[in-house]
Amino acid sequence: MILSKKLRHISPKRRRTLTITAISGLFVVLVAVYTFWSMNTWSSYKTTYESWQKELQVSVDAAMALPGTTSAERAKKLTAFKNVSGTITSAQQSLCHTPVIIAWQHVIVGLRQHEEACAQTISKADTFGKKMQMTTSYLESEQTVAMTIEKTLAASQDKVTEATWNSQVTTWQDADKAIGKMSSGATFAPVKASALEKVKVLESTWQELLAAHAAKDKTKYTEAQSNLTIAYAALGSLSTVSAGQLAPLTTALQSAYAQLFSLKT
């Protein structure tokens, strides 16, 4: 009321000047606020993906630092690596997201570079995550086979009397079924096939031994006994088959790690 009374005493020309000045002032304030907000948003955009990248590496390094001497420790370490893959998948949803109100600003070269760098980081992280996922999936299958074999071997590592030979056939048959039933990726398939083949040989060699024992046939018994030694040695070579299959996975993972964390090797 007071302002409008005061304005009535101002000439129309001066009133127009004042109005323009007020609007311009308001505009400048708005621009300043928008600019400040834009600065903040872009700044946090950059720091968010950079710090996420650093945190990711900390997670990977922490997983690497875990002990892995016993099978329980190895299983725990594997879970830590799997969690890293999970972190990457969830980050893909939230990172590199630009608010619509400032999205147009990517026409500015410097800001577009941020967007591109973020997208590249996510893309590299995605590659790393996928390689990690493939590797952990492989290792999970490998641990399942190892656990099955370990359980089967536990029944025959001490002196085996003729009374328990029959149960040896059964335990290897169980191992055969357990390995046959497990699902695995394409990379692990050759290891699974090799494991099945070797387990079946052990199963049939124990059967040969049992038959020779029942027939009290010394020649066949001695033959089955040496075949058993060969079959166990063949099973031992399974770790070489597995190492051969795992090698390309670790090479790919290593390369993805180097690219994600921008290190040329």
């Binding site: 892995g68 290792l139 490998e142 071997l153 058993l228 770790s239 670790t250 090797t265």
Partner: protein, 247 residues
């Protein structure tokens, strides 16, 4: 001054302020990159499981032990020169249900086994009649007819007669069976023991706990802390009957 221009100027300032935009971060060291590969490889379980694997140590089955021992004995017997042939004839007394052909064959195998009295350098030969001793398969109830010292429970030797109690031949003794001894080993033992009497041996006693019993010990009755043994020991390798002092 247009709105868009103002904003553009402002944002250009932001990009300048942020600086170093999109420059890659050098976070990893070469060591770390190498480590991830070896760390992942070390997560394999198969090397440790298969590395500690051993081929099962199979306990030799009883039949194989017998076969191996018989083969070793046969080999050993070949190396002992036969200096004397001992003949014997086989007969039976009373109602016999045991297989006599098996009795003849197993008795001959035992007598000529390289673990037994053959080590004296003796070859035992079955003849139709007029042998140096007579091996008899006797019904248990007929045992006392050979001598007042022969009871119905066990086998015995009476003069030239080496008499095997049919009940023991067919079923060994409870103490032997309870200890897990095989019937074949019992048969080895009883033939060796009773023939040992004919060769001139008296009863022996256990040499000490855990040692194999002398074949001339009454193992069917009491082991005295010894372990069952179907074959004559080295110290029993003599025969007054054959004039062999010590092998």
């Amino acid at each position: 001054m247009c709105f868009m221009c103002s904003v553009a100027y402002g944002v250009a300032g932001v990009s300048v302020l942020l600086g170093n935009s999109g420059a890659p971060l050098a976070l990893a060291t070469a060591t770390q990159v190498k480590t991830i590969s070896s760390q992942v490889q070390s997560l394999q379980d198969l090397p440790s499981v298969l590395g500690s694997m051993k081929v099962p140590n199979l306990e030799e089955p009883a039949w194989l032990k017998d076969q191996n021992a018989a083969e070793a004995a046969a080999k050993a017997a070949k190396s002992v020169p036969v200096v004397k042939v001992v003949t014997y004839d086989v007969t039976s007394k009373g109602a016999i249900t045991a297989n006599m052909a098996e009795f003849r064959s197993q008795a001959n195998a035992t007598l000529n086994d390289g673990r037994g009295w053959a080590r004296l350098g003796v070859s035992f030969q079955e003849v139709a009649s007029g042998g140096m001793f007579t091996l008899v398969m006797s019904e248990a109830s007929q045992m006392p007819t050979f001598s007042s010292g022969c009871g119905t429970d066990y086998s015995c030797r009476a003069g030239r007669y080496v008499v095997i109690n049919q009940d023991r031949w067919l079923g060994a003794t409870p103490s032997w069976n309870n200890a897990g001894g095989s019937l074949r080993d019992y048969r080895h033992m009883v033939i060796n023991h009773e023939t040992g009497h004919w060769l001139g041996h008296e009863h022996e006693f256990c040499g000490g706990p855990g040692q194999p019993a002398p074949v001339m010990q009454q193992q069917s009755i009491d082991l005295q802390g010894c372990t069952f043994n179907a074959w004559p020991t080295a110290s029993e390798m003599w025969s007054t009957q054959l004039g062999i002092t010590k092998v």
